[in-house]
């Protein structure tokens, strides 16, 4: 059945766009314009004999001269005093806490010679469960960002030292304390007990200070709804692992919402067909096609402004079934057919095992959601409000009041800690801050807000800091530094304590008599502060143990004044009047977070810009996502732009993008782009670097609501070519993905995967190393298409591990991205016929549908998606190997397809002959090259390079190596220390990063390994099996649980 479905990667492929067709015929984007360069004057192609002799002579002489160089003298500088636990050439791993966003996952930091070079999820942490998102992975590069402030800044006097700054600030604080002028410390969500203690010490010293917090992307609705219904302003801890039915209204919980790594890991536990208790059902209602939406079994387009009507209707169906009073809801009939009724049925079938979530920032909507979850017995099962989440605690009211107070002068001073409101809240902040008598920012770069503050006190990067956090009540994570501060920065908490005069003295530094050799950060005053606090609470040595583990589960620490049982006191009926006000059919804008950049706090991180968006596969830009119907109406086509105006903000010539799955009458745009003070990569007006994309936060302003009404859109006059990778490396028309339904799978585990491997006639004996019982390893990989959510964490992890360069927007436009792995995203149309979901199978079906629905393009609103990670398949009989004229790519006795850069002469034949299109060519030297001014072009950025992997140069091919450096390291460890390779788990970088454990890697010659078992699974198939290339990567057929409606 699978091979009947028409899969397509993008509109250009679906419509057989001429440019697309032309591109497909050429392996590598555009060739270098050699003819053009050579046809310049003085470089005539028709040169005569004398020219030939001239060039010949010159070349010979040049080569001869070039080879007569004196080899550079290279130096080796050893430690003066080697720290005991550092062995040059061997990595150390430290547990810590990720600071990429407020979620605070537990991480393991890989440190080589004192440099952190890789972040991975800690396997024991509840929040990461071994995986880590792309944003978290990439946050290591923010440590080595040249835009970071090297010194504190006193703007007025242009001095740059802490003593002057401290003296000035203390003086101002003292004056303002004496005159009782109000100062607000505006932070993001803080759940660190010691940071909160530091803040209260600060407040104690200066009673005129108030602490307020807000989040760039607000969760205020959820918090306030719980304050109303449970008497506790907190966000429940969602337990997707317990949910067999998940219904999400707009919440992209796998990509960006609250704690995506934890949610992915938990969610996927129920997504495999052989999961205990069966596969879960996932229903998604949303406007824009989110990454979570692409993974849903049933997805319904929804106008976000009408969400309250949707959830109220759902409430009514459930209430009706339970015999509880319903609430009046207008125009019930309009909503997505009978989708809601069916959804209610699924939920009722899974009482106590279901979970309904919503991303809405509207308190009423969230209160109805609470009501639904209460009726479904979710609290205590799939939601935990007792041991609630502390990850997001910000308040919209707080930030709006602060802005108002600053503007009208009732607040005289402001301190920004982890916040950048000029960028992510409201433009009016600039003027308001200018009025303040005292404005301080703890930003580590001179960001939009810091740029208008009087003082900037750069905070340490989280990899340089001591800290703790309580992301879930009673669960404490710890942060320890893995590098001495790179710059003259100081942890914000230390600054606060310093100004409060509450800093513990370091006179008795136990390490001081070691002079230069003491690890200075260990003796930092804030460490002593933290150490004393935790020794007191965890007992002697308890802090050390907790640091080793990275977290501690200490119920004893929990605040006992909070009730252990939360009781529901909400009343959905009160909301009737609100519900009646629900939205209309006008065009609206939905503002969302992109999976890579999230809230945009890492606005200068090239890895995040270069990572293709999981759904649209667009890099390096945000865009206005349009539904097909609107695009047709506006006459917007590929490379066109639109002018968009809403909430008093107008952007012209914003790139437009037709997003399949976008609900009609909605458009959407990602936040996090459009920085004006980020730096070289993300845009900086003062330094002359154009912003990347447009700042969509401006549409929200103080409403803090992701749904913006009254949007005006017209076609723009300009044209803009988005750097989009979706149809690069296309393998058109072939049977690449396989899928089935849960019902069919239950009957036959081979469903969807019936196509037998082709019978192969061969005159050759099986090669020795592939025979069972051969003493070598045979490496293989299996990827579960059911577990893969498409999040792209593996892509970033692979790039970090393997020193994959960033190439930038222009190169991607020319199809020259260097990522060793990509995630192919396939769309297919679904048709609801007679209550049954049916895939459209043939192109003329689609054409007929296009023509048949009078400009509504309903089928474009609802598409199904499969994500398929694609990297070198390490073919047993590899087509690339046979065509290489210099044997630069060859086969190993362990089943690896080896790529030897130093042999490669760059013919690109291998890339031409690769059926999977996974080979990448180095068109340029991407390091030390001003044309590629990313982290490979400065000494600081190069600190992140993995010293065990070659940095490739111009003119060679490269591709996935199955992380051969990790294989070799693991083998060597066993050889050196004895033991058995069977007990060793070699993990590739992509596998290690994957939050949903979709990737499994191992030795096929070990019959007990997980990989050997997966190879025998009925769902396992090889892509392009018919070519008999004997790939070493198997995929597990995608199973959709979409029959229950």
């Amino acid at each position: 059945m699978s091979n009947n479905i028409k899969y397509w990667k993008g509109e250009e492929e679906l419509n057989r766009d001429p440019q697309f067709l032309a591109d497909q015929k050429r392996e590598f984007g555009e060739a270098l314009p050699l003819d053009e360069a050579l046809s310049d004057e003085g470089f005539e192609l028709n040169s005569n004999r004398r020219d030939f002799l001239k060039y010949f002579g010159f070349s010979v002489t040049a080569v001869a001269l070039a080879s007569c160089y004196k080899t550079n003298v290279r130096h080796a500088v050893p430690y003066l005093v080697k720290p005991e636990d550092v062995t040059p050439g061997v990595a150390n791993y430290y547990r810590s806490t990720c600071g990429g966003c407020s979620t605070g996952c537990g991480v393991e930091v890989k440190v080589r010679e004192g440099r952190p070079i890789k972040l991975d999820g800690s396997k024991d942490s509840v929040l990461s469960q071994g995986g880590l998102c792309s944003t978290g992975q990439a946050s290591i590069l923010s440590l080595y960002d040249t835009e970071r402030l090297a010194n504190p800044l006193v703007k007025k006097s242009e001095t740059e030292d802490w003593t002057t700054l401290d003296a000035e600030i203390k003086g101002k604080l003292a004056v303002m304390k004496a005159t009782n002028k109000k100062i607000v410390l505006l932070s993001n969500s803080i759940n660190s007990p010691s940071a909160l203690r530091a803040i209260s010490a600060f407040k104690e010293a200066y009673p005129n200070i108030e602490h307020k917090s807000y989040d760039a992307v607000s969760y205020n609705g959820i918090l306030d709804a719980h304050a109303n219904d449970f008497g506790k302003r907190a966000m429940p801890h969602y337990r997707f692992a317990n949910a067999k039915a998940v219904v999400s209204f707009g919440a992209d919980f796998l990509g960006t919402w609250v704690s995506p790594v934890e949610f992915q890991a938990d969610y996927v536990k129920n997504r495999r067909p052989d999961a205990e208790g069966g596969m879960s059902v996932h229903v998604q209602f949303e406007s824009t096609l989110s990454m979570t939406g692409t993974n849903a079994d049933h997805r319904f387009p929804m106008k976000s402004s009408k969400e309250l009507t949707y959830v109220a209707t759902l409430y009514n169906y459930i209430a009706k079934a339970k015999g509880i009073a319903q609430i009046p809801v207008p125009n019930n009939a309009e909503l997505a057919g009978n989708a809601i009724e069916k959804t209610a049925k699924i939920l009722l079938k899974n009482m106590g095992k279901s979970l309904v979530v919503s991303s809405s920032n509207d308190v009423s909507t969230q209160r109805v959601i609470n009501g639904i979850n209460m009726l479904l017995d979710s609290y205590g099962n799939t939601m935990d409000i007792v041991n609630h989440s502390n990850q997001f605690v910000g308040s919209d009211n707080d930030v709006n009041e602060t802005l108002k107070g600053l503007a009208n002068g009732s607040i005289a001073g402001v301190i920004f800690y982890g916040t950048n409101p000029v960028f992510n809240h409201n433009k009016e902040w600039s003027a308001a801050i200018a009025k303040a008598k005292l404005s301080i920012s703890f930003a580590s770069t001179n960001d939009e807000t810091a740029a208008v503050c009087q003082y900037v006190c750069p905070d340490n990067h989280f990899l340089e800091s001591w800290s703790d956090s309580e992301p879930i009540k009673g669960l404490y994570h710890f942060t320890q530094p893995t590098i001495s501060p790179v710059f003259n920065t100081r942890q914000a908490e230390e600054s606060l304590l310093n100004w409060a005069g509450a800093l513990p003295s370091v006179e008795k530094d136990p390490l001081s008599d070691k002079g230069i050799l003491s690890q200075k950060f260990e003796a930092s005053p804030y460490y002593l502060y933290l150490h004393a606090f935790w020794e007191e609470n965890l007992g002697e040595g308890g802090y050390q143990k907790a640091l080793e583990l990275g977290f501690t589960d200490s119920k004893a620490m929990a605040n006992t004044s909070e009730p252990m049982i939360a009781s529901y006191s909400g009343n959905v009926a009160e909301l009737a009047s609100e519900i009646s006000k629900a939205g209309n059919d006008d065009l609206e804008l939905v503002v969302y977070q992109a999976v890579a950049l999230k809230d945009g706090s890492q606005g200068n991180n090239p890895w995040l810009y270069e990572m293709p968006d999981p759904v649209s596969k667009v890099t390096w830009d945000n865009y206005v996502a349009l539904p097909k119907s609107l695009a047709v109406k506006l006459g917007v086509d590929k490379d066109d732009t639109v002018n968009i105006e809403a909430n008093g903000v107008k952007y012209e010539n914003v790139p437009a993008f037709v997003q399949p799955g976008q609900a009609n009458n909605t458009v959407s745009m990602a936040v996090g782009f459009g920085h004006t003070h980020a730096g070289k990569v993300g845009g900086s007006i003062e330094k002359g670097f154009a912003p990347v994309g447009f700042n969509a936060y401006n549409f929200m302003n103080s409403t803090r609501n992701g749904v913006v009404a009254n949007v005006k859109i017209t076609k723009g006059s300009g044209s803009y070519n988005l750097a989009q990778t979706q149809t690069h490396h296309s393998i058109e028309g072939r049977d690449l993905v396989r899928e089935t339904t849960f019902g069919a799978w239950k009957e036959n585990n081979k469903a969807g995967n019936e196509k037998a491997a082709p019978h192969v006639y061969t005159i050759w004996e099986k090669r020795d190393y592939r025979k069972d019982g051969s003493p070598n390893h045979l490496w293989g990989m299996a990827i579960d298409l059911n577990a893969c959510t498409g999040c792209g964490s593996c892509i970033v992890s692979c790039s970090i591990e393997n020193n994959v360069p960033v190439v930038g927007r222009d190169e991607i436009r020319l199809r020259r991205e260097m990522h060793w792995m990509r995630i192919d995203r396939y769309y297919s149309f679904v048709n609801e016929k007679e209550g049954k979901t049916e895939e459209m199978t043939r192109e003329n079906d689609i054409d007929a549908a296009d023509a048949g629905d009078k400009g509504e393009y309903k089928h474009w609103e609802n598409v199904e998606v499969i994500h398929q990670p694609m990297m070198c398949q390490h073919c047993g009989q590899a087509p690339c190997e046979t065509v290489c004229p210099v044997i630069a790519t060859s086969h190993s006795s362990e089943g690896l397809n080896m790529m030897t850069y130093n042999r490669c002469i760059g013919t690109k034949y291998c890339g031409n002959n690769c059926p999977y299109k996974v080979r990448r060519f180095n068109w340029f030297r991407y390091n030390d090259n001003d044309a590629f001014d990313f982290h490979f072009n400065n000494p600081l950025g190069k600190m992140v390079i993995n010293p065990d992997v070659t940095v490739r140069t111009r003119g060679v091919m490269e591709k996935c190596s199955f992380c051969v450096q990790r294989i070799q390291e693991a083998k060597l460890k066993v050889k050196r220390e004895g033991g058995d390779m069977k007990d060793v788990n070699v993990e590739t970088a992509c596998q290690r990063a994957c939050p949903s454990n979709a990737i499994v890697f191992g030795d096929l010659h070990n019959p007990d390994s997980e990989i050997s078992k997966l190879y025998k699974n009925e769902r396992a198939f090889s892509v392009l099996d018919e070519l008999n290339v004997q790939s070493s990567v198997k995929y597990m057929t995608k199973v959709r649980n979409n029959e229950t409606i």
Binding site: Y79, Y901, S961
Partner: protein, 463 residues
């Protein structure tokens, strides 16, 4: 020497070798060695005769018991300066102190206890193995030892300074060579012109020249002179070009980028010959990571200080600390005069050693693999390192060199569990195929080489 001329960069080496040869410093060094030897040869018998107590015996004991590691004659080191000790203390006191200073102190001697306290409570070792006569011999040696000459230290420093090559010398030499070459050419031409003029005057004497015959016709034997010039040209070219081409090929393959023999001057003249050779310190004591890491690592300076806090080679420098050891102290900002227990200072200055072994970046090499798993000796690749005063790159580090070893060296599969399956397979194969088994090395011996286990595959070293 022949080898030297085959590489462009070697031209520099040759020049510097010439400079080295005439180097003042070398001469001084040699002179110094001879002078010292001579002085000893002359003075020793005289001294021996003079002293009733044997100063010669005392010197031997002084060295055998490593007195010099804590004492110097003229300088306070760990312990006090020893010259004139016989004037400060009675002989009886010295004997008691040296043989067992602890007992002596406990007996309540005020001088002994004061001395102990003055030196921060750092106790001297107990030398009960020395008889009182031995101690007195040592005192005799101290009494008679020659006083330092102020100038010697300066010579040593000057010598060290001249180690650094002056690049201008090279250029002057090259310019001189060029000038001489030009003069030679000019002279040759002048001679030719004169000859022609002479030929015009006396045609009989200079046969053929006046008739305008070419150089070939005049000078070559008749058989060659009659040959077709093209054929002759080809023959000459072949004769010249073939060896040149061979030379060029060999040069390109074996020499370009190969730094075999590279022995740069290091910032500290550390001698492997002394430490690894004479003192027989285990390589792994300093290169401590060699069994765990890809890098054997250049030891950090605190490793040096394990010994060199005490060992200051003052005996070789007349009570002064060795200038090379002083460099360690300077790097660590360590004050040898400071009381014991004090660590290093706040103004360190790391040592920039010159890297000798430079593998290209695209090669992965792991020391621990070869030392622990491969059980290779350091000398297998680094040569007789224990005999090198100045370390040089012993092996070519070319890929062919790696491959040769991977083809020929056996792995100890029997004692490594990792290779159990491979070992079983090999045993089976030998049983079944006897002499036709694939497990014979190139030398005809039964072995499993890295090559047989995929050790020649690209991605074992290149990734």
């Amino acid at each position: 020497m022949n080898n030297l001329f085959r590489r462009p960069e070697r031209v520099w080496y040759i020049c510097s070798a010439i400079i080295d040869f005439v180097n003042l410093d070398m001469k001084i060094n040699r002179l110094r060695v001879w002078a010292v030897a001579l002085a000893f040869a002359v003075t020793t018998p005289i001294l021996a005769e003079e002293a009733a107590r044997s100063a010669e015996e005392g010197k031997k004991l002084y060295e055998a018991n490593n007195c010099g590691s804590c004492h110097a004659l003229d300088k306070k080191v760990v312990g006090p300066a020893l010259r004139g000790v016989h004037e400060r203390r009675s002989e009886e006191w010295i004997v008691q102190w040296v043989r067992n200073n602890k007992k002596f102190r406990e007996s309540g001697d005020p001088d002994a206890n004061k001395l102990y306290n003055d030196y921060g409570g750092a106790a001297m070792n107990i030398y009960e193995n020395l008889s009182p006569a031995d101690v007195l011999n040592i005192v005799e040696y101290i009494k008679t030892a020659p006083a330092p000459k102020a100038k010697t230290a300066n010579v040593a420093v000057a010598g060290a300074a001249s180690d650094e090559e002056d690049p201008s010398t090279k250029y002057i030499l090259l310019i001189l060579v060029a000038i001489f070459a030009i003069v030679l050419i000019v002279l040759a031409r002048v001679r030719n012109t004169l000859k022609r003029l002479a030929a015009e005057k006396n045609p009989e004497e200079f046969e053929g020249m006046a008739e305008g015959l070419s150089w070939r016709e005049r000078n070559l034997p008749k058989t060659l002179a009659r040959m077709n010039p093209t054929v002759l040209g080809l023959i000459v070219t072949t004769v010249v070009a073939l060896p040149l081409g061979y030379f060029g090929y060999k040069f390109a393959i074996e020499e370009v980028g190969v730094q075999k023999g590279y022995a740069p001057t290091q910032p500290i003249a550390f001698s492997h010959k002394l430490h690894a050779g004479e003192l027989e310190i285990d390589c792994k004591y300093c290169h401590s990571t060699v069994e765990y890491s890809k890098s054997a690592s250049i030891p950090s300076l605190n490793t040096c200080m394990n010994c060199h806090k005490g060992v200051q080679a003052t005996e070789k420098y007349n009570g002064e600390i060795s200038p090379e050891i002083k460099k360690i102290y300077a790097a660590l900002d360590y004050d040898p005069e400071a009381l014991p227990g004090k660590q290093f200072g706040d103004n360190p200055n790391p040592v920039r050693w010159v890297r000798i072994h430079n593998l290209p970046d695209h090669v992965y090499f792991n020391h621990s693999q070869h030392v622990v798993v491969g059980k290779l000796q350091c000398q297998s690749c680094h040569g007789p390192i224990e005999k090198m005063e100045k370390v040089q790159q012993w092996s070519s580090l070319q890929m062919g060199w790696c491959i040769d070893c991977h083809r020929n060296t056996g792995i100890d599969v029997a004692n490594n569990n990792y290779y159990a399956a491979l070992h079983d397979k090999a045993k089976k194969d030998l049983d079944e195929n006897q002499n036709h088994s694939q497990y014979f090395g190139p030398d005809g011996k039964v072995k499993i080489t890295p090559a047989m286990n995929g050790g020649l595959e690209c991605a074992k070293c290149h990734y």
